[in-house]
């Protein structure tokens, strides 16, 4: 069984890579400009819409897309599904990058970012009622945790061919990190559980300014579910993408199982939401087909569609898996984006549309994230060589592994 991660290798500076770097460079230049001219000139933000795409997209949606590491770690370590293990490192890498970029976005968005250091250090000033404080502290800690979780990938390489000093330290630290990894991984599951649900609590405090179809005491649960669904979807997406882009074998049997969880999860999400709306007597807002009712139905259809697609195609293939994952990601992204921007009603006279520089900063940050991702997987052991070969699996695991039923169907696709 060959699950050991290896660097992809190959030339880094291709033409496509230069395009990516150029887009990132434009974004970075615009960030400098934003600090020079201030937020009023550089963004479409206003006192009515003080939070824009840098928060609603980069942070709220972006970190949910970066929950692949969280979702897969939960399956591998808690539900003890070792066969998903090859997906862990690429998922942790995208999570680490996604959260780091989200943190960068926040720093660009804040009016007084030089005061950021006070958030973790002014312990006596902490407002424990503030969901935002919890989100901020958790995300700061989680970025740190993710890079530690990923550090063995770097140290494995450096301990072999790094510069002498780096080699020495990598050899010394690697066993220590590996030993402590269990407790770091546990933290890496606790922190997203906390801050991803608190991202929902955050908008509970918008109270009457949030449309009743979105305002509910269940926001923390719905946000937690949406980030898990998106985490799974992104792992499917990533696996398919890296198999295509780098010519690797996709982990089809594993992906089928992940897709199942995400698809049925969509149904649970809709059930919780509709039941709550019926209980609170706000379901009638969904019958009004204004902007809000329409968005609610689009979200609902997107949440249910992956299940319908899955049930309609009893023989899933890479293409159907990929499409299903895209729909799940879209459902979660739209729900989160709507909660922060579309369903937010500051009152008559206020409008928001992101300015062009605002959009290019977001695009630039995503390009930067992709550029770093490509560089890291090409040079460091992130992506596993092959799908675990079935015959080599321990007999006990084969007997109970639910992935294997799928594996039989996909024998041809796999090889």
């Amino acid at each position: 069984m060959q699950t050991h991660a290896q660097p992809i290798g190959g030339p880094l500076f291709t033409r496509a890579y230069f395009v990516l770097l150029s887009i990132a460079a434009i974004g970075m230049a615009l960030i400098l400009w934003r600090f020079w001219v201030g937020l009023g000139v550089s963004t479409g933000l206003s006192d009515g819409y003080p939070l824009g795409i840098w928060i609603a997209l980069d942070v709220v949606t972006g970190t949910a897309l970066a929950c692949g590491g969280y979702a897969v770690a939960l399956v591998v370590y808690i539900f003890n599904k070792g066969q998903f293990h090859p997906l862990i490192r690429p998922a942790i890498l995208t999570s680490a990058l996604g959260y780091t970029i989200a943190g960068a976005s926040v720093a660009v968005d804040l009016g007084r970012p030089w005061n950021m250091w006070k958030i973790p250090t002014y312990v006596w000033a902490w407002n424990l009622n503030s969901s935002l404080l919890e989100v901020a502290l958790c995300i700061m800690a989680y970025v740190f945790v993710l890079w530690i979780e990923l550090s063995p990938a770097f140290m494995e390489k450096f301990s072999v061919d790094g510069p002498p000093l780096l080699q020495k330290w990598s050899k010394r630290l690697l066993p220590i990190v590996n030993k402590a990894l269990i407790w770091i991984i546990a933290l890496g599951m606790l922190l997203p559980t906390m801050h991803q649900s608190s991202l929902g609590s955050l908008m509970m405090l918008a109270g009457p300014k949030l449309h009743p179809l979105w305002l509910t005491g269940w926001l923390p649960l719905l946000f937690l579910m949406s980030c898990l669904a998106m985490g799974y979807a992104i792992v499917v997406f990533e696996s398919v993408f890296s198999s295509r882009a780098f010519g690797r074998n996709p982990e089809v049997p594993m992906l089928i199982n992940l897709q199942k969880i995400a698809a049925w999860g969509g149904l649970v999400f809709v059930a919780v939401r509709v039941a709550d709306l019926a209980y609170s007597g706000n379901l009638h807002y969904a019958m009004t087909l204004d902007l809000y009712g329409t968005m609610f139905w689009i979200e609902t259809v997107l949440w249910l569609l992956p299940l319908v697609m899955m049930l309609a195609s009893p023989r899933p293939n890479l293409g159907s898996l990929f499409r299903g994952a895209m729909v799940v990601a879209l459902a979660g992204a739209l729900y989160r984006f709507d909660t922060y921007l579309v369903a937010f009603q500051p009152g008559p006279g206020w409008h928001y549309f992101p300015s062009v520089p605002e959009m290019f900063i977001t695009i630039g940050l995503v390009a930067l994230e992709l550029a770093i991702y490509v560089a890291v997987v090409k040079r460091f052991p992130i992506i596993a060589g092959m799908t675990p070969a079935q015959p080599a699996r321990p007999a006990a695991l084969v007997a109970q592994g639910s992935a294997n039923s799928g594996a039989r169907t996909f024998h041809l696709a796999d090889s």
Binding site: F35, G38, L39, G40, D47, G48, P50, L51, Y77, I78, F79, N80, K81, G82, Q83, H85, L110, G111, R112, N115, M116, K118, I119, Y122, A125, W126, N127, N129, S130, S131, L132, L133, I182, W183, A186, L190, M194, S197, S201, M204, L205, A206, G207, P208, K209, L215, G217, P220, L221, I261, V268, F344, P346, G347, P394, Q400, G401, S402, N404, S405
Partner: protein, 290 residues
Amino acid sequence: MNTDRRAFFKNIAAAAATLTVLPTAALAREKKTAPSDAVGMLYDTTKCIGCKACVVACKEANHMPADTDGYGHGLYDSPDSLNQYTKNIIQLYKDGNEQSFAKKQCMHCIDPACVGACMLGALQKGKFGVVSYDVSKCVGCRYCETVCPFNVPKFEWAKAAPKIVKCEFCKERLAEGKQPACTEVCPRKAVIFGKYTDLLDEAHLRLENNPGKYVNKVYGERELGGTQVLYLSHIDFEKIGFRFKQDESVPHLQQTVSHGIYKGFVGPIALYGLLGAVLFRNRGNSEKES
């Protein structure tokens, strides 16, 4: 294989149930009441003549710059709403023959959403119940603007080192034993300053003594958990810009749920212990796999 999958979904269901029972098990959060030293303002639309003396006095007392972007193109200080240069404003509602002036400034909520939102307590409810701002603890996240049901806090969009701008009830003047600049200067006593409880009594007295003159309600007595600035109006409160009628304060829902989840931080610590224990039990398997 089936039993394994069933166990898997059972695990998920159990985890979901744990997470969802927690908030509902929370004790109802107690309704907040005004502090005993609370002061307030009472504004009466029937007395206001729209002279804007209060706007000028506010700018002077708070050293605020003129807003010359609007009417007159640089000739006048003419803000059209509360903004980064303006902590107090007189607005006009007019529809046919019906018209009313409306004074806007911070409502100094009894249970303020902005204070609940603020990470390091840059916004705080302090002496006299005044919601005040301390720039040294502000990171400029603008979450206070997002959550304020009255859209009061404003942000200095044009500045490289922006602050939040809002009425702080002339707290420096209060400390000197004076009243706020706006109430002091009002020639018609359309807005008056006083102890919060006295003003509530006064407002009800006016309603009783002048049947039919006002909408039969003191806005701010109950709305959004109560505000220390109270309003009497001869036309619908919605028309003079008060969108929300709910009695429940904004932080009530969020804090009930969040306190339920995070009570004593027991939930997160227990979850961490549980995750660690399961990981420890499973460690052999994941090591074998990698």
